[in-house]
Symmetry: C2
Subunit: 270 residues, 2 copies
Amino acid sequence: MNSDPVDKLVKLGFSEYEAKAYVALLRESPVTGYQLSKQSGVPRSMIYEVLGKLTARGAAMTLRKGGATKYAPVPAAEFLDQLHREHEELIFSLKDDLAALTSASDLEYVWNIEGHENIMAKAEEMIRQAKARIYLALLPVTFPALQPALEEAIRRRVRVVVYTTSDLDLPGGQVVVAPVFEDARDRVEGLMLILVVDREEVLIGERLTATQARASWTSSPLLVFIAEHHLRTDPYLPQVLACLEDRGLDLIQEEDRELFAHALESHING
Amino acid sequence: MNSDPVDKLVKLGFSEYEAKAYVALLRESPVTGYQLSKQSGVPRSMIYEVLGKLTARGAAMTLRKGGATKYAPVPAAEFLDQLHREHEELIFSLKDDLAALTSASDLEYVWNIEGHENIMAKAEEMIRQAKARIYLALLPVTFPALQPALEEAIRRRVRVVVYTTSDLDLPGGQVVVAPVFEDARDRVEGLMLILVVDREEVLIGERLTATQARASWTSSPLLVFIAEHHLRTDPYLPQVLACLEDRGLDLIQEEDRELFAHALESHING
DNA sequence: ATATCGTGATTATAAACCTAACGTCTACGT
DNA sequence: ACGTAGACGTTAGGTTTATAATCACGATAT
């Protein structure tokens, strides 16, 4: 995550040369174009064009001193603040513009979300919007990414229940630890994630590790109900079957025995 | 300022097609690629690539319904929040990175800043950083851009004095109204701006209207002193000369008479 | 003379953009 | 049954633009 500052500058819209030049300028200034081209690795023939763009953007300043022109960076904090402010303004005005356009899209569908980042972002957003209840099933590795949002939700008095496979630290929330059955683990490739918010929407993520991570989101009432129901009942299954004792086998139809095998087994072993 | 939302999206890093497609998606969804290409003006041959990028970025979602694939946008507010959060993170982590690199640049120079926006941004930044005193000379048209920052400074108990040519509304600040002499107006092309902050730094902007607006910034003590002195004494000049009365003409050397002509005249006329 | 300094011209490459044509389906009217 | 048309998706060509990579030419200065 914490890569070269040059990369980050490129993400902010700089060209690679511009980024290199700016970083080099921060390292040492004031310098002439020639000096900078050496220290930054930007070809001499490009450095003036690049410096021109930097000054035009407000990232650098020029200084004429005895015939020669020297350059210095605008202090990083100052420039970044400026960038940030511009970006904020853009976002805000866009929000207004786009809010006017948006027509209520039909939510009674199942939508697909692609990309690990987008899925986690959606999950975070859902948690952030939660008003009353959150049911969340995930593997412990996925937990840290959502922990801050969950803690914030708890502070808002949202009831949070997390189902996972080993104990997690979530004060104020309820953590239910239950093993994942082998067949489920086999059937689900990669990490999984089930998130039910306010009995209104559900996010089901699969293959979270793979590069082409995929998730489904819906506010379809039935699917939401099913997902929530599954989360809340599944951990009890072994105990319920225990109560049934031997009668359990009679109640369960032949073809479904296999399905319950693991639960029964864990009862026997436990 | 308030242009096409598509332009703003482009500024946020979208391609033009991506922006058009997203806006069109907000207008109506869910739609197939074909429909969207018509409504958005994006060529059919590009629409799927574009939609792919949008979904990869978390701006759109796919829906499979009866063989056909349909698309819908991630709600604007949600997506923009997400973008904003990412941008903030980038900025913050960059600030840390770059702060570590920055070597104190020599400030005893006069630096040049280009571009109207950059100059105004620098002025705003200076005002924002001001701790004790602000002396500012400008024409009334330039005032609104800086007004919020100035008011904020006044709230911080910074002493603010504005020199201009017609009365301005700046409660808590001191506004000195004085005419600009004709020769000064002739000599200065376009708008001008002089800003002295905390007796430490000064910004002198010229040709603010021209496309190649230019400004000088320095913390050189002498220049700062001169600029501040000029601002504070200039408005008194007519009155001072009035006190001198006729002796004024004797005191002033032949070659300088022209320089004071206007002041003397305004004294005579007033 | 050699390191420093500034500029111009040239080419390569990839991304974005644009246009045209080619396919499959399905529906509808004759 | 047949042809047409429109929805739908794909393929292949092309231009333009921004960035990157190189070479080459002049000038100044110690």
